[in-house]
């Protein structure tokens, strides 16, 4: 009788344990293999935090073709001339040394979802239990025929991926004559970093003001209005950069005459300038498009916001700029960092048999330099809405700066130091 009771109790215990789904006192991912594609704000963060949240029990490999991380946030300061590229460059070595992340310097050419394998450009195949894809964005020129001509993309730069083109655009501005015109074309939202083009216009304007005062900045925006911090940017243009910056909305670019240095628009007159900076329409990074992960109009990847698992590929998670964003969610580096941690927590929960967090909460903070010193911010808090199955901004949270100020300039640099370490050290 007593013996039977004992067996029954143990039986019930086993059932209870199964229900809870976690039989150990510590999270243990048991050496499960997690591959991360892309070492930007999203992927590098995810790689570090899968290791950290799993108590260093998951085997994590980061696949990234570049030797060092170069930050897009703050790269406009390199274009403005107050920072150098090395100031915004961080080694990936900390991820290996401090967190035991395997670093593979390569890129992925294909994903076999059925076999749970990725193939590298170098020829090797790697197996995964869970794959995290954070490929950033691709710039699309197919609707701008002039940009498809040989060498066109080396002459008219985007500088929307920090690196060579950032330096290239800076050089074009340095060699431009005093009295020249810099024209920046902005695509329809959504695109990477909503306030970025307006910040860039400020940075170029400050450079002109100090060094080439007869020069002009023309902002040609496909959108109906400034898409981020509109009041603060317009104030900067009308007060700080009066007579230098001109903002023109509803300018939908249809082609670029590269040799003639002319932009052509759907409804507006052609514009000739000395330095053209074309931000073409964007979509998820090419590996996401090629593999069908970008299931929303072939542009963005739809995900489950509890886990960041792709809606079309099991065991594959997508995050950062390449996802179909939730309402009010910007495509920003800070947001990708937040995706990375939320995804990491979910992946670790799945691999170790724990419950997945049903209420992710995270934030966005974005500082923009309206000069080399003065900064404005936009901030927001986002939480999961179980009924809508998406992230929503928390009512009453968030906002923008009252005015541009140097204290937030210091905070912006501190933000960079902290977030780079949070991703990479």
């Amino acid at each position: 009788m007593q013996r039977r009771e004992f067996i029954q109790l143990v039986g019930a215990g086993a059932a209870a344990t199964t229900l809870v789904g976690c039989a150990t006192t510590n999270i243990d991912a048991k050496g499960a293999k997690v591959l991360v594609i892309g070492g930007g704000y999203g992927g590098a963060t995810a790689a570090k935090y899968v290791r950290k949240f799993s108590n260093y029990t998951a085997d994590v490999t980061l696949i990234e073709p570049n030797q060092n991380f170069i930050s897009c946030p703050l790269s406009n300061l390199v274009i403005g001339g107050s920072k150098k590229l090395e100031d915004i460059t961080v080694s990936y070595e900390g991820l290996r040394k401090n967190h035991g992340v395997n670093l593979v310097r390569d890129s992925v050419v294909s994903i076999d979802v059925a076999k749970k394998q990725v193939r590298l450009a170098g020829g090797a195949s790697l197996f995964y239990d869970r794959l995290i894809v954070s490929p950033g964005i691709d710039l699309t020129y197919d609707k701008l025929p002039g940009m498809l001509a040989p060498n066109a993309q080396n002459e008219v730069l985007h500088a929307w991926k920090a690196g060579e083109q950032t330096i290239g655009l800076r050089k074009q501005l340095e060699s431009m004559k005093n009295g020249g015109v810099f024209a920046i074309s902005i695509p329809l939202a959504p695109y990477r970093c909503p306030p970025g083009p307006y910040e860039r216009a400020c940075q170029v304007a400050e450079y002109f003001q100090k060094n080439k005062p007869k020069s002009k900045v023309l902002i040609l925006d496909a959108n109906d209005d400034v898409t981020s911090k509109p009041g603060l940017f317009k104030l900067a243009w009308s007060r700080r950069y009066a007579g230098i910056v001109e903002y023109r909305p509803k300018h939908s670019l249809t082609d670029v005459d590269v040799k003639g240095k002319t932009l052509k628009f759907e409804f507006n007159d052609d514009i000739k300038a000395d330095v053209l900076n074309v931000l073409p329409p964007m979509r998820a990074g090419s590996i996401a498009v090629k593999t069908g992960l970008a299931n929303m109009n072939g542009r963005w990847c739809e995900v489950d916001f509890l886990t960041f698992e792709s809606k079309v590929a099991p065991n594959v998670h997508v995050l950062g700029d390449s996802i179909q964003i939730a309402p009010g969610m910007p495509k920003s580096g800070h947001m990708a960092n937040q995706h990375g941690k939320t995804c990491a927590a979910a992946v670790v929960a799945i691999l170790s048999g724990a419950d997945v967090n049903q209420l992710p909460v995270y934030n966005n903070t974005c500082y923009s330099f309206v000069s080399s010193q003065d900064v404005v911010h936009v901030a927001s808090v986002h939480q999961y809405d179980a009924a809508k199955k998406t992230m929503v901004t928390v009512p009453g949270s968030g906002g923008v700066s009252a005015a541009a100020n140097p204290l937030e300039g210091e905070y912006a640099h501190a933000w960079a130091r902290n977030i780079w370490a949070d991703m990479l050290v």
């Binding site: 109790l9 809870v20 903070t365 901004t393 949270s397 949070d422």
Partner: protein, 116 residues
């Protein structure tokens, strides 16, 4: 008699072991949730709240201190450039759990974990 006693102990042991496992399971899930919430602060305040400079370190502050600051940001009593806007996005319960997490960490950051 002694045999019966042993059996009863085994039953008790089994029951408490199971209860422990059940509690451990929910604590783990909850702690991953709290870790995610707390990690949302780390972008600016450093991993686990150990600031790299220029922002306040959160690790090792007392729970009461952290809760009070967040509430003062919410009410506007404490002046901020950004925290008055971000604090309003977190519930009292979330702030309590996040504060408890940072309060549980030592003031000084431990050396990096050994790699495999």
């Amino acid at each position: 008699m002694s045999q019966l006693f042993t059996r009863q102990s085994s039953i008790l042991a089994a029951v408490s072991f199971v209860s422990l496992m059940v509690i451990a399971g929910s604590v783990n899930a909850q702690s991953l949730q709290v870790k995610q919430w707390a990690a949302s602060c780390s972008a600016c305040h450093g991993t686990d709240g150990y600031s790299e400079g220029g922002m306040a370190s959160l690790a090792g502050q007392t729970k009461a201190e952290l809760i009070q600051k967040m509430n003062e940001y919410k009410s506007g009593k404490r002046v901020a450039s950004i925290m008055h806007q971000l604090s309003k996005g977190y519930t009292d319960e979330q702030i309590e759990q996040i504060s408890a997490y940072f309060a549980s960490l030592p003031v000084e950051k431990a050396a990096p974990k050994k790699t495999k």
